[in-house]
């Protein structure tokens, strides 16, 4: 398949693995954070850890929008659509994320009208097709998905569609990276930068990480070869004692981002003074809300939202895992009380959550699998 197979070419992948082993200084331990959940998923799915030397460690970052969403937001969103004239629309990613009284999928099984949509414009289509219903799109995601939400709100205004609203949970990546770097128990050598977010924001917003924090950043694609090449680029910088922002994902990411997308976001959204992140706590100016000019399409302004706050179970160590301080398997609940089917923390829900990825692809003692493969 075009644009996929080239980046999964076994021979090139082996070569990239060799290059990583050659570049990695054996006397050093490297801790590299992949910011984006899509990378976490790909690393597990393609078994890329098996190709890295033991002193090159990948730490899973906070870039999984489902994982960082506090449970109270899910409760709020579901409560708005509790009345029978409502349709709750969200990406498939959200469907199994537990609220206090169940996930959207469980609400659906109990009779609530819950729809999986593939894009916000599909939710708007639902509103057009069901004029007697109130359709609420539960918006999640970083800058990757925020522009399409913005464009959909602009379209709803243009067409005068009044039975459509957005419950906005869009967050921004840079404050999360800053929170991680500010965390005292965190020691990182560099970042595999998020690819899809960067298609929108470009590479410039990461420059402070290189300049002020002296950590290299390589914006990366999502295929095995992309990720390995990004690690090669990071190791080269570290070897030379450099810290700069590089773009491995040039085929998709323009250095200055996507101006049209950024314009749409700026038109519709403004920064919230602060927003709660699951596991990371309140981070100032880290999330987007809908501007007053578009209040009519803002579910939070149009409907009574209870503003629920739910604290995570004490035993769950989502925050530590999210910050990369603990590995998923080091959490007390991992694989016991907390599994993809009965998730306690959100990291176990999304297949991009580091716990779910770790559970789905590796929980049976990775060493034994590696041995079995070698047999």
């Amino acid at each position: 398949m075009k644009y996929v197979d080239e980046f999964r070419e076994p021979e090139l992948i082996s070569k990239a693995g060799e290059e990583i082993r050659r570049l990695a200084d054996r006397t050093r331990h490297y801790r590299i954070m992949e910011v984006c959940g899509g990378h976490t998923h790909a690393i597990y799915r393609f078994g890329l850890k098996d190709l890295l030397p033991s002193n090159v460690e990948l730490i899973h970052g906070p870039g999984c929008p489902v994982c960082v969403l506090p449970m109270g937001r899910i409760d709020d969103g579901l409560s708005v659509t509790a009345n029978p004239d409502s349709i709750f629309a969200a990406f498939g990613d959200m469907m199994r994320v537990p609220g206090t009284h169940g996930s959207p999928l469980e609400y659906k099984a109990r009779g609530m009208d819950v729809r999986i949509v593939y894009s916000p414009s599909d939710a708007l289509k639902l509103a057009r097709m069901n004029p007697e219903k109130q359709v609420m799109f539960f918006a999640i995601g970083f800058e990757t998905t925020a522009p399409s939400t913005a464009l959909t709100i602009l379209r709803a205004k243009l067409e005068g569609i009044r039975n459509f609203s957005v419950f906005c949970n869009h967050v921004t990546i840079i404050p999360a990276i800053r929170a991680i770097l500010d965390s005292p128990d965190m020691r990182l050598d560099g970042f595999v930068g998020p690819g899809h977010v960067s298609t929108v924001i470009g590479c410039r917003p990461y420059e402070w990480i290189a300049q002020d924090e002296r950590k290299p950043v390589v914006v990366s694609g999502f295929e095995p070869l992309d990720i390995l090449q990004s690690i090669v680029m990071l190791l080269r910088q570290l070897r030379r004692g450099e810290a700069k922002v590089e773009n491995q994902y040039k085929r998709v990411v323009p250095w200055d981002g996507n101006r049209a997308a950024l314009r749409a976001m700026a038109e519709v959204f403004e920064l919230r003074p602060y927003f709660e992140w699951r596991g990371l706590g309140f981070i100032s100016q880290s999330a987007l809300k809908i501007r007053p000019a578009y209040a009519e399409w803002d579910a939070e302004q149009r409907f009574a939202v209870p503003g629920v706050r739910v604290t995570d179970p004490k035993a769950a160590q989502c925050g530590e895992v999210l910050k990369g301080v603990l590995k998923p398997s080091q959490c007390k609940l991992f694989g016991r009380e907390c599994t993809p089917e009965t998730p306690i923390g959100a990291l176990m829900v999304s297949s991009e959550g580091s716990c779910a990825a770790h559970y789905n692809y590796q929980h049976h003692k990775p060493v034994t699998i590696a041995n079995a493969v070698a047999l």
Partner: protein
């Protein structure tokens, strides 16, 4: 042992959609509630069909309900599925379907021409599979209480002499055969629902797999240890069930698993794993290594079997698990599906 003494392990407060999706939740329901109360202590590993002895003849019995939305989709329809699904469940238990009874649950307001089209599809599929429809039952429920129509088919078949497919006969070193490309049916249905703004040149693989099973069994005889049609939950779920039942490891070789480009493309876009997607016209078989080559040849020379492959092998370690190895030396676990496959966006 009195049935009441059997331990009910199913403690979930209510039935969720996931309990019907064919994955791990379905298994918990069946093994935790149905099996202990209904099958008593006699229940062994749960196969696609039950085998019973009648006057010295081994008979296979199975039943399946069909609830699919939309009723018609590229490559097939609910009526055809209802026949082929049951024919296939019998086939992978080593039996040729002989007769079937059919139950219709119809929703008031269903247009007659829609029903007629499905009944015609059933008649054609039954004729092609050479199975007799021996009887049936009809119920009508109020409008809004069913998705147009549900069909249940119950089939009996004669077990092919000499065939014994059991997970406990599977041995390390055995080969895993797959009859053809995976994911066609599930992706077709996903796209046919029209909820995703995607189109692809793809159609359901629904068909009877009996001719393929027959030629496999003829060529490999008792070397065929186990068979399963990977419907809901896909290849991953079927093989995980096998791994748990036999306590061995299933190693799959990623590059040998046939997946058509449109299915791969849709799965890449939607964040789904083809190994979790439903099939309606494929089957998996575990075959002893000595017979595997011949079995593959036989499958490939049977019409509809040209794309059959050996996709993996049984190993001793690690116990009761399925994993995939990539061509560049990576490995990952393949777990059962939890609930329905959901498209992933961000």
């Amino acid at each position: 042992m009195a049935i009441s003494a059997n331990k009910i392990k199913f403690r979930e407060p209510q039935i969720e959609m996931a309990h019907g999706a064919g994955g791990i939740a379905s298994r918990r329901l069946v093994e935790g509630l149905f099996a202990p109360l209904l099958f008593g202590a006699a229940s062994g590993p749960l196969g696609d069909a039950a085998h019973i002895q009648l006057n010295g003849t081994r008979i296979a019995v199975t039943t399946d309900s069909f609830v699919v939305k939309p009723l018609r989709f590229p490559g097939g329809s609910i009526g055809e599925l209802a026949i082929n699904g049951t024919v296939n469940d019998l086939a992978v238990s080593g039996a040729r379907a002989e007769a079937m009874v059919v139950t219709f649950v119809l929703e008031a307001g269903l247009p007659t021409d829609v029903l007629e089209a499905e009944v015609r599809a059933m008649a054609l599929a039954a004729e092609q599979a050479d199975v007799r429809i021996a009887g049936g039952d009809t119920k009508v429920v109020e409008h809004g209480k069913a998705d147009n129509m549900y069909i249940t088919t119950t089939g009996i078949g004669r077990v092919i002499p000499g065939v014994s497919v059991r997970p406990d006969s599977v041995r390390p070193g055995d080969h895993i055969l797959l009859s053809g490309p995976i994911g066609d049916h599930g992706v077709t249905i996903l796209l046919a629902r029209g909820e995703l703004d995607m189109e692809a040149e793809i159609q359901s693989d629904t068909r009877s797999v009996f001719p393929l099973v027959e030629s496999l069994v003829e060529s490999a005889g008792t070397g065929v240890r186990w068979m399963r049609d990977p419907t809901r939950g896909g290849v991953a779920t079927s093989l995980n069930e096998l791994a748990r039942d036999c306590g061995l490891a299933i190693a799959l070789f990623e590059q040998t698993i046939p997946v058509r480009d449109p299915v791969r493309g849709a799965c890449e876009l939607l964040g789904l794993d083809p190994l979790h997607i439903a099939n309606e016209g494929q089957f998996l078989a575990v075959v002893a290594p000595e017979q595997a080559g011949r079995a593959l040849e036989a499958l490939r020379s049977t019409p509809g079997g040209a794309e059959a492959r050996i996709i993996g092998e049984v190993r001793e370690q690690p116990p009761a698990c399925v994993f995939v190895t990539t061509s560049y030396g990576g490995a990952r676990l393949v777990d059962m599906l939890v609930g329905d496959p959901l498209p992933r966006i961000c």
